[in-house]
Symmetry: D2
């Protein structure tokens, strides 16, 4: 199948490479020359604009930082809608707000194209391995149409419901994630301060009612889970600033529907403190640094050292 | 083995029954006549006081509501220490603060007895089925000494470390539990307000990074997990007032060691609001009522209807 | 002086009337025909568009609900910049985010006009009485240029600094206000629950270190301050949804500069709960309803009754 | 009048000195020999025990750190009740929980003595100057009986209601204080980050709806109020650990009556973070250090450097 791919960043590049591996032909566009070259070296064709990337293809995929980028790539004079043929589906894998998604879907529909939101979870590792989870929002027919393409980049393709629900699923999952990670950080730090061995505490929580991904897979206390970022200086993993972005989407969406998110709003402030103090690029589990005082191996400084 | 058992409430009674089933002989004491009768009918011997219950036995077990009860049962004129023989271990399965545990252990030691804290998780169901988890704090030798007795009442017997660490483990696990449940309640309510099918949202969270016991086993949104209290009107399960008690122990312990617990302190207020509004006896997952407005099937009233 | 005035809502209309009273000539525009008629009856001239309202005047004033309205009124084909003469100052008294203000000021500057932000405090009462406080952001010369006009509508005209700082002052003041009101609500409700006479408690706080406008002028407990909205069913005053809007501006601005606002974010959720439960139009001091249980004369329901 | 005074700390000593200045005769007791000597040098008589201090006097005053101290000083074998004559009033100026006050009052009543709670505000400065505010809980007659004595140590003597309400008033005032200070810290830090001159912002808040003691008298931003601790390195003033103690009393009292205190519980965690990081002895307005990042003159470290 011939596919237009726009946005070759840390996530987009490996996703595009997997499409090539699966035998698809790609028209790629990105503002970064090197990003484009990497894909061209792998067999893709460089496009001069989003419009060119979207011309004469059977499907268009976008993977961009925020709603503003998606909008301009879509509606600019040299944008997707200026080049895409009617009936060709547009898949947006960016993580953005559900309201924007609905607006973009209307713009696409007016042009005779379906627009499905398909944000991912699984991180750069999952993108490279082709094991991402795609949360898809759109009609049943649109879902069936794009599923084969997504299967070349991911393992689980979930139909969440109508347009925008893919983003809702992503936002709500990450809301739980941001809260539970900070909650585990609090409990592990408290246990440490009260004198229990943190590995023992971790194993008890992980076999009890407190068990969660933030504890059994990504425990923020160094040494509890050897494969977690906390055991390698909070490098790699899911950046604090990305969590901050997703919690921002969650609290904004909540405000829009007048829905209280007490813990989410507070967790957002905790990650914001980390970011303020220069720890925005550390894995988000570094939030535990806010809880551990120096004399207990932490720094009590929002990760500034 | 001959065992003295003090405190035959919702948890203590079934635990004591399992000891009888396992072939142990029991001296039981409780202020409630009916509670005692039930055990006597099952083959236990009634004791006139904690002192009497602790006399001429090889082990003493207490299961009481709060530290104040444990203290009086221990040191009163007709209390355990007045009747127990030196060398006989005392197992306290109540959930109380670690500081009191240490004080009680010193009192017992001065009398020649070991005092191990062994709070449980698993609820009344686990108590009846004999599948409780015991979190044991005490010396390695004391742990080995009491383990066989505990195995008659539970499935997992975990040695957490020195005296008090059993309580620390219980408190820290329930701190994560209280936070993650409120977090899942926020996310499920937000998703509902944003128009995603809550069963779909639940299944996505449960296979993604937001997965936790509060979502995959005890999801607070009715209909997501058929076996959860939320699917039967929040009856049975783990009461809101009990969660409130445990979060109180956690925030108090945190204050004692000057350890911040931002989300725990806030979650405590949420459960307190439920309790204020008359929902203290509902399962703690009913906290979701604080998030769902009437027009979405909830009541937005802290569960007062 | 001849002035163009755009936006004749609850605030704008009385402000415009005071300009007429001061002897200024007005070109007025609003989408509401009745709103315009009221001003025309008072001696203003009706304009067919923002462009028309801004043509042939010595000053333009806008008073609109949100940044989006200011933008369209400014840049639309029939907008202000299409009709205004170079050198004529634009005064925006809307409460919007500082970032938008800077963008609008650049658009105006490119057209040869100064754009000062001049949000107000004092409410509809102050607007009618001409006693508003104006927080002005802009150059010293722009401030001197607009001050005489503002004095016809307000009592205190404060120069806060460069463009946008008027909005910063307003946002920061209302952040303190939203937090202190909820804090007073907590303390008054706690005192009531603990059995102290609420009038006595109010008088003690108001003569001690807890004193604040939210307690000594606008106390949320009914009966403590006879002139406060709480003593007349929370009618009139500063609406909960308006406080919610301002706290939203504060938390968004904080996110933009990575500045934590723990209490502000939490207070926002409290007002959001009120709004969710149908109390968005009540005075924001009604947030105390979240704290008072029914049996203490409150409703424990987020003001739904 | 002959008075027994027990507890000669930072507050008790200057209070006792003012009683001497007023011409009262004092029997003083404290565990610190130097503390006692200072008072003896000023004309007081040293007592060998609380019992001795309470013997043959017309009034007894206690000023102690916590409820546990008051209890032992009251009921110990050589305690007050062992020496006091029936009918002699006991005034406790310690800040403790209302529940303990009621228990102590019953013990005293059983012995034929009235026990009034009379916590103070005004700090060490007010204690030395004799300008303290006393919040008195007790019967009208008991209040009239102790008022003349209190007037020798304070300026405002307020009758709050029955036994315990003095403590309720103190706790509720300091709950508002702890919240509003953190709220002002958030707003001042946000304004600073958004580029407004902090003196200008302070003056606007202090003449607007955000005005409060924490802003107009004790502003946490250095340089805004020259006489505030923030302008002298947060030395002197009201210590963070004392605020932490009072917020602990407030949240505990709230739990006891199932009253939510969302902002109070969160504010408590903020001061706890300060204390964790070694800033417990700084004035509580130093909580602003949690909000200011290094590049803005703060340290973003909970004041650890």
């Amino acid at each position: 199948m011939k596919i237009g791919f726009i946005g070759l960043g840390n996530m987009g590049a490996p996703m595009a490479l997997n499409l090539l591996k699966a035998g698809h032909a790609l028209n790629v566009f990105d503002l970064s020359v090197e990003a484009v070259r990497t894909l061209v070296d792998a067999g893709a064709q460089a496009a001069a604009s989003p419009k060119a990337a979207a011309s004469d293809v059977e499907c268009v995929i976008t993977m961009l930082p925020a709603a503003a980028h998606v909008r301009s790539v879509l509606v600019a004079a040299d944008g997707i809608l200026a080049g895409i043929a009617p009936g060709v589906p547009i898949i947006d894998s960016s993580t953005i707000d559900p309201t924007s998604v609905k607006a973009f879907a209307e713009l696409a529909a007016a042009h005779g194209n379906s627009f499905v939101d398909a944000p991912v979870s699984g991180g750069t590792g999952g993108a490279a391995a082709g094991t991402l989870t795609f949360m898809v929002g759109g009609s049943a027919s649109a879902y069936e149409q794009v599923k084969p393409v997504l299967l070349a980049m991911g393992k689980n393709i979930v139909h969440c419901g109508d347009t925008g629900t893919g983003q809702v699923a992503k936002i709500c999952n990450n809301l739980v994630l941001g809260i539970s990670m900070a909650g585990v950080a609090e409990a592990m730090s408290l246990g440490e301060a009260l004198g229990i061995d943190t590995k023992v505490l971790g194993s008890i929580i992980n076999t009890s009612t407190g068990r969660c991904w933030s504890s059994d897979t990504y425990n923020p206390m160094p040494g509890v889970i050897e494969t977690a970022p906390s055991s390698r200086g909070y490098t790699g993993g899911f950046g604090t600033d990305l969590m901050l972005k997703d919690l921002g989407l969650a609290t904004d969406a909540a405000r829009g529907v007048r829905q209280p998110v007490y813990l989410g709003a507070l967790a957002q402030q905790l990650y914001q403190t980390m970011s303020t103090n220069g720890a925005g690029r550390l894995d988000f589990s570094a939030v535990i640094k806010l809880y551990r005082s120096r004399d207990r191996g932490g720094d009590g400084q929002g990760g500034t050292q």
